[in-house]
Assembly symmetry: C2
Homo-oligomer: 342 residues x 2
DNA sequence: GTGAAAGCGCTAACAA
DNA sequence: TTGTTAGCGCTTTCAC
């Protein structure tokens, strides 16, 4: 283990007091240029680094940001969270923060994790993913005045009572639908999640809007189901069977889109488990997961690195600057990645 | 922010000294049963949690384990690291540790990250992934006496100079090859990475072994290439074009396997970008990524949750118990997930 | 079995 | 502009 260099060692070597070293590092403008240089040189030379634990005891700030790592659900959508986490870790490091991981299954388990973490490691803030209606996590944190941002808007309270960053899902499905319209498709279905989920309703809305813009209705053109491959396949089959005119499907996720592809391709490739010959139908997914890339699925891509850096920016702004300022929020545009499937 | 409950609050409420509270929590056997009960009741009641920063200052232990989060490479293989990280976080929490994330691009950047982290947050240990020949990270840590485990054996020094957990890749490809043999395939090719990578050579060896066991040679039956879809496709085409008798391919990764599938299926599904009609060939991948599941690719699965928990067990054993004990290591068996592709 | 004292490394407040 | 003092919450040491 490398021998620990403390602020006292630096002070001694530079011939100043410990406090001056601290000032040179944390409040440089208060130290004379020459002194500052000398101190920083010694810091460099000795390889001194401030000890977080000691600093935390004094300042009450840990420079730790806590984030949950999801169990991969179906493994397809899971990649979204992982890309986000990566972006968060990178941006955080640049701002002098580190990401602390935790797991939790459900809102209540997660608030319990908050409690644990705050008691022990005292993270300065939390970054939450996948906000939803009636999210108990945000109220728990807000009640206790713990700083946090969410990836996902404040669905329950659109008046934005907390910081959030989100991607405009409706704009994504709208772009997807317009793309299909421009390809000549006139009867375009939608595969989504049961009503009541903010994200799902938002994505359906974009599709509806794009059709409405060209005077098309949506009656009988959509199905709602659980977000997984097999349910997606069933829903797609049902939809296509009942309406022979449908030539394209917009899906709320790549999982659903993959299910749709199982029935939408003619002839279905035999090795695509459960594939049944059907008529050719264009399919667009959502999230641009590795699976979409692998199978040539057109998909709506979320700018996850940008979402992550924005989350961190809002957070540091709040942490380092005005804690009293009104919460900020940010809606980022997605992009459409066009591939062979549509 | 929840008001902080300190050990002094607990001591006061329980009518004992601070020290007794500390003992009741950390050295229960030294406190009288009755006192211990009373203290623990108050701890519960007040929601007291030891402050890590303060404890760390005293003990020098942070109960933090640092691990790298990878940028998703091609997005396919990336899922391995993410599943591993998840397992690590879950097991760590059960053992009273938390996972601290960092990113780094290359060995040298990673050792720089070690230096930063050790100076500032003082993680108790590191968990490294993807060890390789001449790994500068392990020597850096070993030289400084920093505890660590690796997911991936000590390739450079098989005498096991450090703790590691790995999956028996050769056993995986051997099982895959045997499976294909049992299906009647007699001429089975291999798609892998350039020689010299520990993992790649290991996986090729399993295939070779399985063929040797039934008296088959490997001359002209393998290709080495970069671990990505397009190179995999080219290599597969080359191999299949030159040897018309090959009816099955074992691949060192799902990325390569996906590339192979682009040429191995007849007729290639049109929406699989770049697909060219070819004769039908069975394909087996490695890692059982979400992509494998999505496209029905038979693949070798690594028990990542078990790898993660084993890593943590070796680590805590070393951390809490004998730091002087010889390094332990563990080779876990993979399993074959059979799907439509082979 | 329990309590008092000391100090880990740092920085806020104040004094020089 | 620089130095001194104090104390964050905890546990190790030693006295009782």
């Amino acid at each position: 283990m490398a021998d620990k260099v403390t602020i006292a060692d630096v002070a001694r070597a530079a011939g100043v007091s410990r406090q001056t070293v601290s000032n040179a590092l944390n409040t440089p403008e208060v130290v004379r240029e020459e002194t500052r240089r000398r101190v920083l040189d010694v810091v460099e030379e000795l390889g001194y680094r401030v000890n977080q634990a000691a600093r935390q005891m004094r300042t009450g700030r840990s420079r730790l940001i806590a984030a949950r790592i999801d169990p991969e659900q179906d493994g397809i959508n899971g990649s979204v969270g992982d890309r986000f986490l990566h972006g968060l870790t990178e941006t955080a490091a640049r701002e002098g923060y580190r990401v602390l991981l935790y797991t939790a299954d459900g809102d209540d388990a997660e608030t319990a994790a908050f409690d644990d973490l705050l008691g022990a490691y005292e993270p300065d803030a939390f970054v939450l993913m996948a906000t939803h209606h009636g999210d108990r996590r945000t109220t728990w944190l807000a009640e206790r005045g713990v700083p946090f941002v969410t990836f996902g808007r404040a669905w329950s309270d659109p008046a934005a009572p907390h910081c959030w960053v989100d991607v405009d899902g409706a704009a994504g499905t709208e772009a997807a639908t317009r793309h299909l319209l421009s390809q000549g498709h006139r009867r375009i279905g939608f595969l989504g999640w049961p009503k009541g989920s903010g994200v799902g309703d938002d994505r359906r809305e974009g599709w509806r809007r794009a059709l409405a813009e060209v005077g098309l209705g949506v009656a009988g053109l959509h199905r709602e189901t659980e977000d997984d491959v097999v349910p997606g396949e069933h829903a797609a089959r049902d939809l296509l069977d009942r309406d022979p005119e449908i030539t394209a499907l917009v899906c709320a996720s790549d999982s659903l889109a993959l299910g749709a592809l199982h029935v939408a391709r003619a002839p279905g490739p035999a090795w695509l488990a459960g594939g049944h010959p059907h008529r050719p139908v264009a399919v667009v997914g959502f999230d641009d997961t590795p699976v979409a890339r692998a199978i040539g699925l057109t998909s709506v891509r979320q700018p996850l690195a940008e979402v992550a850096s924005s989350c961190l920016r809002l957070l540091t702004h709040r942490l380092d600057g005005g804690a009293g300022a009104p919460p900020e929020y940010l809606l980022l545009p997605p992009s459409l990645v066009v591939r062979a499937s549509g």
